[in-house]
């Protein structure tokens, strides 16, 4: 048993010092961090710290998860720390976007709150195939970038970092009702974007 673990650790350590592997991983991590922090410098710092942390703690990598998954988990913790530190800044600067967010979402529905004909969600068929394609992730990323900052932030805290409702509310200082409204809007918007940019293009 011990040897298996040692092999995994040695293997992880050597991959983390392999230039090509490290460079790819780093690029992917930076994209992920920029999406959430909306700041390139901050994102690069977070990734740097996460990678250093990973190398330092490579012994605690037990080989059960994929190496990348493990490194991303470390990055997620860094991002949570940063989001907590800068919560004041976020609240003040993003508040004024609320009106525009409302109007956009309401355009999906008619006056009675029913789907407009051309906005009605379509049948995506089997989405599993799409989730495996490289192009899907490019579209997914673009759609995330298109979300209003506040919505994107809480959506990613919920679905990327998998924080619980009360944790998110405490971190960005909003009520549960507010959070639910924002998640609802983010999902409406993201779904619509994926449908328009991916499923309707027949890109599968």
């Amino acid at each position: 048993m011990g040897t298996r673990n040692d092999e995994d650790v040695t293997d992880a350590a050597s991959r983390l010092t392999d230039d090509t592997f490290l460079n790819d991983l780093r690029q992917q991590m930076i994209k992920f961090a920029i999406l959430q922090l909306r700041d390139k410098d901050m994102a690069e710092d977070a990734v740097q710290e996460a990678l250093i942390g990973a190398l330092k703690n490579v012994k605690s990598f037990d080989g059960r998860a994929a190496l990348k998954t493990w490194v991303f988990a470390i990055l997620k913790n860094k991002i949570i720390d940063i989001l907590r530190q800068k919560k004041r800044l976020i609240n003040v600067s993003d508040l004024q976007h609320d009106d525009g967010e409302d109007r956009d979402i309401l355009s999906l529905f008619d006056q009675k709150g029913m789907w407009r004909l051309d906005e009605r969600p379509a049948d995506w068929g089997d989405p599993e195939d799409a989730l495996r394609g490289k192009d899907f992730w490019r579209v997914f990323e673009a759609c995330l970038e298109g979300l209003p900052p506040r919505q994107a932030r809480v959506f990613m805290m919920r679905e990327f970092i998998e924080l619980e409702t009360d944790e998110i509310c405490a971190t960005v200082e909003i009520t549960v009702t507010n959070l639910n409204v924002m998640l609802h809007r983010a999902r409406l918007r993201l779904r619509e974007c994926l449908e328009n940019k991916w499923y309707m293009q027949g890109a599968v």
Partner: protein
């Protein structure tokens, strides 16, 4: 009678916590009759799965089936 906007709101909330019995009943009644909301309901878990795969460094996750 529930409209689509409220139905999508309830469906979104059901990803966060269990809905009350009354909400579940009115939602079921609406979704049964509304093809758009039926599709929306199928898309929500796809969004969640996509987001989580993305957050785990995606292709490792996706290649393992």
């Amino acid at each position: 009678m529930l409209n689509c906007h409220d139905a999508t709101r309830l469906m979104s909330e059901s990803q966060e916590h269990a809905l009350s019995l009354k909400d579940r009943i009115v939602l079921r009644a609406h979704v049964m009759m509304c093809a758009g909301c039926r599709n929306f309901e199928k898309h929500l878990p796809v969004l969640r799965r996509a987001a989580r795969s993305f957050a785990r460094g995606r292709d490792d996750e996706m290649n393992v089936k």
